[in-house]
Symmetry: C2
Subunit: 232 residues, 2 copies
């Protein structure tokens, strides 16, 4: 928990009820000794956030736990959307506490790949049509953005990352650096620096974050660096 | 300092020498009572980071302070680039400690605008040709990315934000929500939610971060929300 802000920690310590995906609840179990805990499994986002709203409506102080930054593909939006369904007189107050995002944590592990403009794209097509995602990859590649990929690959979903490779190869060289970070800042953290031609052969799963460099990104001493443009 | 991670705080506490932009050094002055401090002004990034490397070469433990996340338009890359100029035997070890980025902090103040794919673009043309930046804005607009703008406007540089407005208006409606956050999580924090047609009339400066919604972003009760796509 060396990367959890004091504000996030205090909000957990001050809460009566903790709501979250079981895996994330376990990561902060030492803070939860006297709390009511509502843990849910994967894919139960709506039930999870509704139960948080229900507890708040019942007068409890509730902390909803996301990993990384709750505002980046996390639970912040869903909690707000569900709370907004209640009229102002009874609507629970929602406070979003930012955190260190997976993309920021992964970048730090790789070196400094986000020193210039970047695009963040989730490859999960559960809630977004693949055509929309693919177009974003094309635009990000054409714009020479550094590209960070959340949810790059799952057991079921393996073709998308290969398609991303093909799209970006139309705009950048095969040697373009690609970093893959697994479990950034957690137990089992691991990173690999590959290139655009070969990176899909590396181990990639839903706990991986992939960062594709822009046309200026280089690797030196196993650090991935996107220069900001200073003349050195 | 409620948003500074324990890891960042410890690294400052354990350092002999603190290097940073004067304004940022002042933000953590209470941690610096027994430290050597090398503060520099704006635009002195190379001198600043070289002095950090020099101190490390002289055997000191050095902490370089950025605001937000040092890995996002911060000093991480420049420190690494300068350190790499020394041969491995004497090269100082560089550890990047991630932080809560300005875009993440601003998103939390606005609500949940980053629940879907987003592009981060700096409008500063000091180190990047405006043509490159403009193309990125065009690609991000065409890809329906939420667009976060760093360094949106300075006293000298006022036309770029108006040009961004014109480009994005070709792809999104005039009513598209635009959030402007000033001094996110700091003293004087302030936020305004406007729209694509009108936002350039709001106060915007180099301490502002601007977030332009995608085609699905909406405003309710003065919160800016980009839905992830759940059917509620």
């Amino acid at each position: 928990m060396l990367d959890m802000s004091p504000r996030a920690r205090e909000s957990i310590e001050n809460a009566d009820v903790i709501v979250g995906y079981n895996t994330y609840v376990q990561l902060v179990s030492e803070l939860l000794t006297d709390k009511k805990i509502i843990g849910t499994g994967m894919m139960q986002e709506i039930e999870r956030c509704q139960s948080a709203v229900d507890q708040a409506l019942a007068g409890k102080k509730v902390a909803v736990i996301s990993s990384g930054d709750p505002g980046v593909y996390g639970m912040a939006g869903l909690v707000l959307e569900l709370a907004m369904k209640y009229e102002a007189a009874i609507r629970p107050e929602v406070i979003i506490i930012p955190g260190i995002s997976a993309v920021g944590a992964s970048a730090a592990v790789l070196g400094a790949p986000l020193m210039h403009d970047f695009a963040v794209i989730s490859l999960s097509d559960l809630l977004t049509p693949w055509d929309v995602i693919r177009k974003r990859v094309e635009m990000a590649a054409a714009g020479d953005f550094v590209i960070a990929l959340y949810n790059p690959k799952s057991k079921r979903r393996t073709s998308q990352i290969r398609e991303v490779r093909e799209i970006v190869l139309k705009h950048r060289t095969a040697a373009t650096p690609v970093g893959i970070v697994h479990h950034a800042t957690r137990e089992g953290e691991n990173m690999v620096i590959s290139n655009l031609n070969d990176f899909t052969q590396e181990f990639i799963d839903m706990f991986s974050l992939v960062i594709i460099g822009n046309s200026q990104t280089y690797v030196q001493e196993n650090r991935m660096i996107t220069p900001r443009g200073y003349k050195l």
